[in-house]
Symmetry: C3
Subunit: 311 residues, 3 copies
Amino acid sequence: MSMKFEGRDILSIKDFSVKEIMHILKTAKKMVPAAKGERRDESLRGKVLATIFFEPSTRTRLSFESAMSRLGGRAIGMADPEASSLKKGETLADTIKMAESYADVTVLRHHHMGAARLAANFSAKPIINGGDGAGQHPTQTMLDLFTIWTEKGKIEGQKVALVGDLKYGRTAHSLSYALSLFGAKLYFVAPPTLQMPKEVVDDAKVGKVRPKLTGDLNDVIGKVDVLYVTRIQKERFPDPQEYQRVAGLYKVDVGLLEEAKKDLIVMHPLPRVNEIHPSVDGTHHARYFEQAFNGVPVRMALLALILGAVE
Amino acid sequence: MSMKFEGRDILSIKDFSVKEIMHILKTAKKMVPAAKGERRDESLRGKVLATIFFEPSTRTRLSFESAMSRLGGRAIGMADPEASSLKKGETLADTIKMAESYADVTVLRHHHMGAARLAANFSAKPIINGGDGAGQHPTQTMLDLFTIWTEKGKIEGQKVALVGDLKYGRTAHSLSYALSLFGAKLYFVAPPTLQMPKEVVDDAKVGKVRPKLTGDLNDVIGKVDVLYVTRIQKERFPDPQEYQRVAGLYKVDVGLLEEAKKDLIVMHPLPRVNEIHPSVDGTHHARYFEQAFNGVPVRMALLALILGAVE
Amino acid sequence: MSMKFEGRDILSIKDFSVKEIMHILKTAKKMVPAAKGERRDESLRGKVLATIFFEPSTRTRLSFESAMSRLGGRAIGMADPEASSLKKGETLADTIKMAESYADVTVLRHHHMGAARLAANFSAKPIINGGDGAGQHPTQTMLDLFTIWTEKGKIEGQKVALVGDLKYGRTAHSLSYALSLFGAKLYFVAPPTLQMPKEVVDDAKVGKVRPKLTGDLNDVIGKVDVLYVTRIQKERFPDPQEYQRVAGLYKVDVGLLEEAKKDLIVMHPLPRVNEIHPSVDGTHHARYFEQAFNGVPVRMALLALILGAVE
């Protein structure tokens, strides 16, 4: 089977085979020097990206703009739904058709699950899902995989703990599926009220190894190769004291890391609030800033592939 | 008479002769492949456009940014009057002089009629009127003319119905003047309370054929070559039921189009709300998305002409 | 001593020697034709600037974007703290590390004094202070110096009156230090309640000549070579009538300028409100619009120097 990326939508991580994802990650690796500004790459000169964001996402937007800039292309965008034609009652279909008129590819961020796939139905040009509510955020998953792959050499066999709000965390859902597909061994660490939904656990059985569910971070900290921490959002808790108690249980600090394997890496999709103490930043475990940077080469790879600038 | 575009302001469609407008449209036609990203054009490399928008207009802003990008130039801009020096009480003259310091050409969108012409008085560099309240929006008129010209081969002799809110619709006013100048035959279709103002009807007599006014869309649907639909804004009606009734009368759907000529084209400046049913999108009549795209080559042509990159 | 700019932060004017500042001004002078779009310069092709603005500043942001564009680079940015990860409670350190992941240099505008220096501690890449509350705004000071230098031929020995709100005006504080360092003779003209703070007066004694403090603009108007006017902000006055009275005392108009030296130049950091009457714009004294433009070549010079594109 030959792989075809040109003209393709990036809607869900589930649309991609292991082989295809590996091709994206390898392409991203070649993009690193240009992403750092050390090498000049103008593969997308003359090309235009539209960023259509119905809800704010600074990291996703800026890393796409950076990716486009590092490849010599340009980004135009609409970030404020209040100051736009949406306020005049325009449908998503019409907004997407506008973007398609002005650009070669569109990144859509939307609060409704399924919005990106709907948008792709209306667009003759590629749509990249930049996060659709409780749905997918495939470029985040790809940069997470890229981080583990480049830091660990391979994904298969890695023991990865996903920690925090696993019930509502879109990032954790897509990632657990993808890691399982690649043969990683998963630990889902969350309080009972925020554990992984059953359908995501089932999804994660795509791999050979069944994920383990636990409420106790201390249970797994000594075993895992990757600790992937996510935000626990205050809004989920009716009682502020209950929030404080639960957030405290899953806080990562240097004390906790004393129990960890030497080569454990700590990841976080960012922004973080209190989940990881700043003192962790200086340890050799911290990889969340590298992970943030990895958004650039991964998005460069995706843009170059779907616009046909690389194969 | 030789035509001179370099350094010129684009303030009102009335400042341009038929010959000049045709030159712009022909230049725009050559820009189409670059506007689609199929050909690379870097005529405006190193040039900077300032977009100064005192009120939001996603389409106008993004299509100018796309136009500048497709020609290798860059756009900088201020889109949020609340987060700007305007809040500090700066005059329009000072804001325009700022833009002129930082860019080669400025697009101004303003809520007051005459703002663009005032701005041009203060600026040594070209000003493009991106819409000034109830006044003019000349680049919209030019893309409308471009659409009719490219779809129909010529503008002269075309029967064009303008439908909807013709009283307050700036787009309809400029277009009716320009179409008349080109020798099109006009039909103004609106309820009595929203019919064309007398001065616009008088303006439209610049051509040889007097426009016809009617309240009944069914009267004209079988006769015309172009149906140009505009938004009827709820805010114009003190009584919501009256709005519903009137809006219903001018709604374009596939049923209505059964009465139309085979080669009728339907246009709309977008965004639309309910004026054109989505089922029309799939018919061979719909041209509003092509019309939106045409904003890019037309604005490319204008930018290249007034910055002296083409003649 | 050899000068080293590559990789350097621009945090405070006090971090630079006279020799270093003169090197920046001379580099800026060479940038003028490219800043005007008359010459193409692509020294920063492939480079990315991040503009992180926690409070709005149209002139600072747009002139940095223009500077980057005129050198062939690109700017990405976050201008609305409300629509960003800041709202999610991210620390400044994390925001800066994000910017550093996506760009080669960051301009930070922040409401807290010291924010830029704090940011520089967290960033391996250069930070430019775009204004930090009551603190510093070094690129503004440099463009002010550039304006005096290019208009007058030298800064040493110039008699410069700073007029208006000298108590709270950050611009006046940095500039008075720098002018004194260059050997200018200073006059601080303000009502007693808005006079220069003692520590700034002390700072300004770095030069050989002690600054003179006065409340009366008429006292100095006939003596000085440069009149640097700053905004008197209404918010500083509990009593609106007192504001009116004071603002009236320091208003610059053509009447006042009749008393001035022939070659007096009037400067203002802009935006202005009522401090300088528009009738002054047409006199040969006015230089505030040239001063605004000078922000572009000065920022081009700084960007090119710290990114190693020029020496």
